[in-house]
């Protein structure tokens, strides 16, 4: 029963993830809040579950001509190195603290996303007026 609910929650997260907007930021809180999964375990599950999803959605996106690798190696190489450091940091952080830090991270991302959307909308309105 539990695994069916996890599949359903992950499917919803994957919908967003496949569009390139943070499936993990939905899956991790869904697992901890609704399923009582421990924070580190939820984070590990998201990292692993993301991999097959990324392969399939990359295939679809490149078919649609949406993948542009221009300049991306400059981001990828330091990101890979620092992600191992971040993972180590997580492994030494107590579960309850990591959960709260994750909550704060989510709120910051939501505010940033809302602000960006608002700025884009305003720019479009102004363009229409002139």
């Amino acid at each position: 029963m539990g695994s069916i609910i996890i599949i359903l929650l992950s499917f919803s997260a994957g919908l967003l993830g496949g569009m390139g907007m943070g499936g993990g930021t939905i899956l991790i809180p869904a697992l901890t809040i609704f399923m009582g999964v421990e924070q580190h375990v939820a984070q590990a599950a998201n990292l692993l579950a993301f991999l097959p999803m990324a392969l399939i959605s990359l295939k679809i996106h490149s078919g649609n001509g949406l993948i542009k690798s221009r300049g991306s190696l400059w981001i990828i190489v330091p990101a890979v190195v620092f992600s191992v450091g971040g993972a180590f940091l997580a492994s030494v952080t107590p579960s309850a603290l990591l959960r709260r830090m994750f909550g704060a991270f989510l709120i910051a991302l939501a505010i940033k996303q809302a602000y960006d959307s608002y700025a884009a909308l305003r720019a479009r309105m102004q363009k229409r007026r002139t």
């Binding site: 990324a54 399939i56 959605s57 190489v77 990101a79 890979v80 939501a110």
Partner: protein, 121 residues
């Protein structure tokens, strides 16, 4: 931005994306998208798609570290991978046809609610 400064900015952002994605087990793509569409002049849908290309190797490295630390439990990982892969395929097919603004509004609301819930003890 031009030449050296653009590459430096890309590398610093890469470091931030890596730390966040490793520490929180996700979310790096959320930092990558505005970087690609802003500083690197990607068209919005291409930025979303290319963010996945960037996060895939980053998540792979993070996943290995989490496995070594013993946090990968099959009874959570397997159903999560099945659901997420199916959802991801549908989401990728929809990206070309959906109004992004509507999807984003729902997404922001969900993130805010979850964030507040997680801050509570």
């Amino acid at each position: 931005m031009k030449g050296f400064y653009r590459e430096l900015a890309a590398m610093l952002s890469g470091a931030a994306i890596g730390i966040a994605n490793g520490l929180f087990g996700g979310g790096g793509g959320m930092i990558a998208v505005p970087l690609l569409s802003g500083a690197m002049n990607y068209e919005e849908k291409a930025a979303h798609a290319t963010a996945i290309l960037i996060i895939a190797p980053v998540s792979l490295a993070g996943a290995v570290a989490y496995i070594i630390s013993g946090f990968a439990l099959p009874y959570v990982v397997i159903p999560a991978a099945v659901g997420m892969t199916a959802g991801g395929a549908v989401g990728a097919l929809l990206l070309n046809g959906l109004p992004l603004a509507a999807v984003k509004a729902i997404f922001v609301a969900a993130m805010l609610a979850a964030g507040i819930r997680m801050l509570m003890p």
